[in-house]
């Protein structure tokens, strides 16, 4: 099981600012999922990236998968208070399909 490192651990910004969070590994990802989790609730799947160099957009969220498939980033444009939450990256194991999660980035967007 490879170790997923997320940075930064905490991020606090003002409404309207942009932010980027990162997910890195020393090994190649087979695929990578990004989730957002609010306190006391389950994680909500935002996107799955599979192909190196892939870029996916979901409204104000942009997800990038590194060419070598060892890193990924999530960029939020013009953040809103509703974007507040714990952002988690996770890799699905090949053949066993269990998700291995990073420790997460806690994002707080102040109104």
């Amino acid at each position: 099981t490879q170790l997923l490192e997320q940075s930064p651990q905490f991020l606090s910004i003002q409404e309207g600012e942009n932010l980027t969070v990162y997910c890195n590994s020393s090994s190649v990802f087979s695929s990578l999922q990004w989730y957002r989790q609010e306190p006391g609730e389950g994680p909500v799947l935002l996107v799955t990236v599979v192909t190196g160099g892939e870029v996916k957009k979901l409204k104000r969220l942009t997800f990038q998968f590194g060419d070598a498939r060892k890193d990924s980033s999530l960029h939020i444009t013009a953040a809103q208070p509703g974007d507040t939450g714990l952002y988690l990256c996770a890799e699905s194991g090949v053949n066993d399909y269990k998700l291995s999660f990073g420790a997460g980035t806690t994002v707080t967007v102040r109104a």
């Binding site: 389950g42 799955t48 999660f101 420790a103 997460g104």
Partner: protein, 115 residues
């Protein structure tokens, strides 16, 4: 379409007791996964069931067990509860299509508190 449901929402037990947590997957999903999210430890994989069979388990002691029923719902049993079992227990479901990944969709979790 209804998402993954879990019950109960909260569960309070004392050390040494047993806890049973339940999960109903999204309609049509055959795989159910259980994860533990303890404070400071992040999300850890517990168990995976597909078509009624245990397919994989994480690095947890045997007192964590479960089963999957013919309707694909699942329950997680934790015996001989210890204080460190206090956590949010999350259930996820997916279609099992093989390949490199199956997208997993999570329920709201059961908050287990062991006193």
């Amino acid at each position: 379409e209804a998402g993954v449901t879990q019950s109960p929402t909260h569960l309070i037990k004392t050390r040494g007791q047993q806890a049973t947590l339940r999960c109903s997957p999204i309609s049509g999903h055959t795989s159910v996964y259980w994860y533990q999210q303890a404070l400071g430890l992040g999300l850890q994989f517990l168990l995976w069931y597909d078509e009624g069979e245990e397919r994989n388990r994480g690095n947890f002691p045997p007192r964590f067990s479960g089963r999957q029923f013919p309707n694909y719902s699942s329950e997680l049993n934790v015996n001989a509860l210890e204080l460190e079992d206090s956590a949010l227990y999350l259930c996820a479901s997916s279609l099992f299509v093989g390949g490199s990944y199956n997208e997993q969709f999570f329920g709201p979790g059961t908050r287990l508190t062991v006193l």
